[in-house]
């Protein structure tokens, strides 16, 4: 299958699915409830690409995004998968 995979594009940062264990660790480290995390739509191309690779992703799954940053070099961002179409 020669379909285009957005995750391989150089402008798309690395998206990782967190395991429940990692998720707990991250939330504890941040000291916040999960719903205070930024959201990512489950229709987001990156999430769809991940689903194609790893099977369905449940709402509420936490995604770790590792981006190149002009100020910090590398920056880590977390997003919670949300069911809603449009993210406010």
């Amino acid at each position: 299958m020669a379909r285009f995979n957005v995750l391989n594009h150089e402008l798309v940062p690395e998206h990782q699915i967190l395991s429940k264990k990692d998720e707990q660790k991250v939330l504890k480290e941040l000291g916040i409830r999960k719903d205070l995390l930024p959201k990512i739509s489950k229709n987001d191309p990156a999430i769809r690409a991940l689903e194609e690779l790893n099977g369905p992703i449940a709402e509420g799954t936490v995604i770790r995004i590792i981006r190149k940053s002009p100020t910090a070099g590398v920056s880590v961002y977390y997003r919670m998968v949300s069911g809603s179409e449009v993210i406010k």
Partner: protein, 886 residues
């Protein structure tokens, strides 16, 4: 205002007042147009009846028994002799009349249609749907109903009703009286109202025709008593008087059977008065006027527009304890100071609570009265008001000061006039960044302008061509503490925009420091002392003794104002921008600034060292020694600059641009060559010999080549001109030190102005095929497209002048467009970001605690405390601590 019941507004509903409701909420039926009797007592059942509330101290409200500030006021009502239409509902009345049957009152839609439309309307009315959508639907339905000429319910033939603006309805040319209108509206059944978007539970269409008029409480239309004792009624009261008079006359005429014509005239007059009572700017009606000829300000005028209740009083906020006046420079003030005129200081006050600790001092202060001076006639603060514990205010005058100073006790408050050392907020609009509003300490000065140090012009973006600024006096300790700790000028010296200084030496300061340190000149002892006397430095540098006379070097004098132990190393601005070898400065001595242990050893102090945006010395001092040392440095530097210029002297003028005849002729030949080159290019182009550049058309290539040539000439002429203008030339000193202007500007004055451009290309607009009628069509030569060969000093010929003006205008238009666009963008950004904050973990969070960014700027660095965006300047730290290394 400590506690109260807090409730959330769930919804707002608009409805109409019914005549019954107006009567029910009325406390008194107004029957007489009179206000007060001869003794000045309100007449019963008049417009100032005591049931309507009280505005006079001493009287009590006849309705609630409250005193002046307790009674909120109560409504009354006027029974109109005949109904009149409400001007604000004319459109709606027309819609009802158009869409309903004149006989049976039903909406002119078939039962099927009604059944089809109702659910949709019900849904729109009861959901939070867009009001616009509702309006579109109403219009669609009513337009459909209005187009029927036969009633689907009673088969009656319909006639067209025309609105003869503003308030008269006509049916086939015959006037329909408000009474008839009201009767027709009454016939409309409740069930049909939904289709008009009206909720029958709260509104009936006939209520839009007035039979009863509510009379607002007198608090809304207070009587003003003039200083002469004369009473003056509010505009609304005047209008209500008119309405009652006409209503009475109309009733009498009607009751004693006057001719129909007279009754109709009076009825129209009543309609006029009621209409202007609501809106005195109704189109088609002359505005009702006061005896003086001034148009009355009635209900709509109170609410509408920029000066109306909404924009002026509800959206707009105004403050007390503030002042505004013209600004002017005062180089002898610290950057932290602001010079406040005495007249302003006497007016603005600071509240001081009286305690057992300060009571003696406060008594002394009050005793002075409101305009005290010390023995030598200088300003000292007085007291304008004292406030008793029950918050009654007593004005202090010279006469009562002595007695009142005795009365004061713990728990009172006094309002003390401004004094030296008070902290105030100083602001210049537009307030585009946080440095537009900074805390200053007060210095009381004579005259009438606010004054401040020139180094603070940059953050405020102020100049002195008539700019005005605002000053706010802080009224509580918390605000003063905040202003001292975070808003003071010295705390704001580094901009959060780029992590560098925003406060520093400008114009003359840079020129002076340049003259002081460039080539390290020698000054006599007398001159040196003269310069240093401007600064609070109490010693001289080590002298150089030549022929038994003491001399001092400029760099040593500059070193006097540097903090002890300060180190820095950087390049002067001198050579920045010059390609290749700098023609003047091959000497490391002058170029490389080297400061070690608070001594300037080599280098020239110029823009790169002390100016806002780039000043390395200011930035490094602030970061190493903190705000107060940095502001002291700026204070001393700006004062020293004045001292230096007073000793050396510095003048610029048109003769700065005198260049020798041979230079002039060589510039002329360069420009002739350029024109020849351009002509050659055009020739080639016309012969079709021009080779296009990759990715460009031949036309574009020609333009690019020509622009290249004109750019080259300008550089060449600049070089020729500046070859004759050395660093002994004041204009060149200003340009090369970075004080003002660029070398380019000098070559424009002395050499040649060069190619004028619009949107990056040569000027190409005006007539068809030519810029001016002085050229032939299709002339694309140098002169015809805005190549200016003259210099500003010699003057431009008329054609050049015109084309230069075209180019010059572009800049003006650009700035005008840019400011409005970027202003709007900034507004949107501010609104989007205003409720975000950085929490203690350096995360960006909103008010609900949701995370926006996990680390501010992804690196968690506060740009205002950073080093041009980086957390630390490692090179500088090593240099500072270890000394010579890399």
């Amino acid at each position: 205002m400590t506690s109260g019941i807090s409730k959330k507004i769930k919804e707002i509903r608009f409805s109409l007042l019914s005549p019954e409701e107006i009567r029910r909420m009325s406390q008194v039926k107004i029957i007489t147009a009179d206000t007060y009797d001869d003794d000045g007592y309100p007449i019963e059942k008049g417009l100032m009846d005591l049931h309507l509330g009280v505005i006079e101290p001493g009287l009590r409200c006849a309705t609630c028994g409250g005193k002046v500030d307790e009674c909120p006021g109560h409504f009354g009502h006027i029974e109109l002799a005949m109904p009149v239409v409400h001007i604000e509902f004319i459109k709606e009345i027309k819609r009802f009349l158009d869409a309903t049957c004149k006989v049976c009152g039903r909406i002119k839609l078939t039962d099927e249609e009604i059944k089809a439309y109702k659910p949709r309307m019900y849904e729109l009315m009861h959901s939070k749907a867009d009001v616009e959508l509702l309006e579109i639907n109403i219009k669609k339905i009513t337009d459909e109903a209005a187009s029927r000429t036969i009633c689907p319910h009673c088969d009656a033939q319909q006639t067209k009703i025309i609105l003869d603006k503003p308030t008269t309805f006509r049916e086939e040319g015959i006037k329909v009286t408000p009474k008839e209108i009201r009767e027709r509206l009454e016939r409309i059944p409740d069930e049909d109202l939904l289709l008009f978007g009206m909720d029958e539970k709260v509104a009936r269409p006939e209520w839009m025709v007035l039979t009863v008029l509510p009379v607002p409480p007198i608090n809304v239309r207070p009587t003003i008593t003039l200083a002469t004792g004369e009473r003056s009624e509010d505009d609304l009261t005047h209008k209500l008087v008119d309405i009652i008079r006409i209503s009475q006359r109309l009733r009498e005429s009607r009751d004693n059977g006057s001719p129909q014509l007279i009754i109709e005239d009076l009825w129209d007059l009543l309609q006029f008065h009621v209409t202007t009572y609501y809106d005195n700017q109704t189109a088609g009606i002359p505005p009702a006027r006061h005896r003086s000829g001034r148009a009355l300000k009635t209900l709509v005028q109170r609410l509408k527009g920029k000066e109306g209740r909404f924009r002026s009083n509800l959206s707009g906020k105004r403050v007390n304890f503030s002042s505004r006046t013209v600004i002017s420079p005062e180089p002898f003030l610290s950057v932290n100071d602001v010079g406040v005129p005495e007249v302003v200081a006497r007016e603005l006050t600071v509240p001081v609570s009286v305690t057992s600790f300060n009571i003696d001092k406060v008594r002394e202060l009050v005793k002075r009265g409101p305009s005290p001076r010390d023995e030598s006639g200088r300003y000292i603060p007085g007291v304008n008001y004292i406030v008793r514990p029950d918050s009654r205010r007593i004005k202090i005058t010279d006469e009562n000061a002595e007695i009142n100073s005795e009365r004061i006790d713990v728990g009172w408050t006094i309002e003390r006039q401004l004094m030296e050392g008070d902290i105030v907020l100083f602001n210049r609009q537009p307030s585009l960044h946080r440095m537009s509003m900074m805390g200053h300490t007060v210095r009381i000065l004579s005259d009438r302008t606010f004054r401040f140090n020139l180094a603070v012009c940059t953050p405020y973006n102020a100049d002195f061509d008539g700019d005005e600024m605002n000053l706010h006096v802080l009224q509580n300790e918390e605000a003063r503490a905040e202003a001292r700790i975070i808003m003071k000028v010295e705390e704001q010296m580094l901009s959060p925009r780029f992590g560098g200084p925003i406060i520093g030496g400008i114009h003359d300061h840079i020129t002076a420091m340049f003259l002081l340190t460039h080539r390290n000149p020698r000054f006599t002892e007398e001159d040196t002392i003269n310069m240093i006397s401007y600064v609070d430095v109490d010693h001289l540098p080590d002298p150089e003794i030549i022929d038994g006379k003491k001399y001092y070097r400029g760099r040593d004098i500059f070193s006097l104002i540097l903090p002890e132990g300060f180190n820095a190393r950087f390049s002067s601005k001198l050579c920045a921008g010059s390609e290749g070898k700098c023609p003047y400065e091959d000497r490391v001595e002058d170029k490389e600034v080297y400061i070690r242990s608070g001594k300037l050893l080599t280098g020239t102090i110029d823009e790169a060292a002390i100016s806002p945006f780039s000043g390395v010395i200011i930035e490094k001092i602030f970061k190493k020694y903190g705000p107060s040392v940095a502001s002291t440095f700026v204070d001393r530097m700006t004062r020293l600059a004045i001292g230096v210029l007073n000793v050396i002297g510095f003048t610029t003028g048109i003769h700065d641009y005198d260049i020798p005849e041979d230079a002039v002729s060589s510039i002329r030949s360069v420009s002739k060559e350029a024109v020849a080159k351009i002509n050659k290019l055009i020739e080639n182009y016309q012969a079709g010999l021009l080779e296009p550049l990759p990715g460009r058309s031949v036309d574009e290539t020609l333009e690019i080549e020509i622009l290249g040539v004109t750019g080259e000439v300008r550089d060449q002429s600049g070089k020729i001109a500046s070859a004759h203008l050395g660093l002994n030339n004041p204009s060149v000193i200003m340009a090369r030190s970075g004080a003002r202007a660029k070398m380019l500007n000098i070559s424009e004055v002395a050499g040649m102005v060069g190619q004028q451009s619009v949107r990056g290309g040569r000027i190409n607009r005006g007539y068809t095929g030519r810029t001016l009628s002085h050229f032939e069509k299709g002339d694309i030569g140098a002169e015809a497209r805005g190549f200016v060969q003259s210099s500003y000093k010699n003057g431009l010929n008329p054609l050049e002048y015109f084309l230069h003006s075209i180019g010059g205008r572009e800049g003006l238009v650009d700035t005008a467009v840019r400011t409005s666009r970027s202003g709007y963008m900034q507004r949107r950004l501010i609104n989007a970001f205003e409720n975000l904050k950085i929490d203690e973990k350096r995360r960006v969070v909103d008010t609900s605690g949701s995370i926006i960014q996990f680390s501010y700027g992804e690196d968690g660095i506060d740009p205002a405390k950073s080093d041009k965006g980086r957390a630390v300047d490692v090179d500088y730290t090593i240099f500072d601590e270890v000394g010579e290394s890399s």
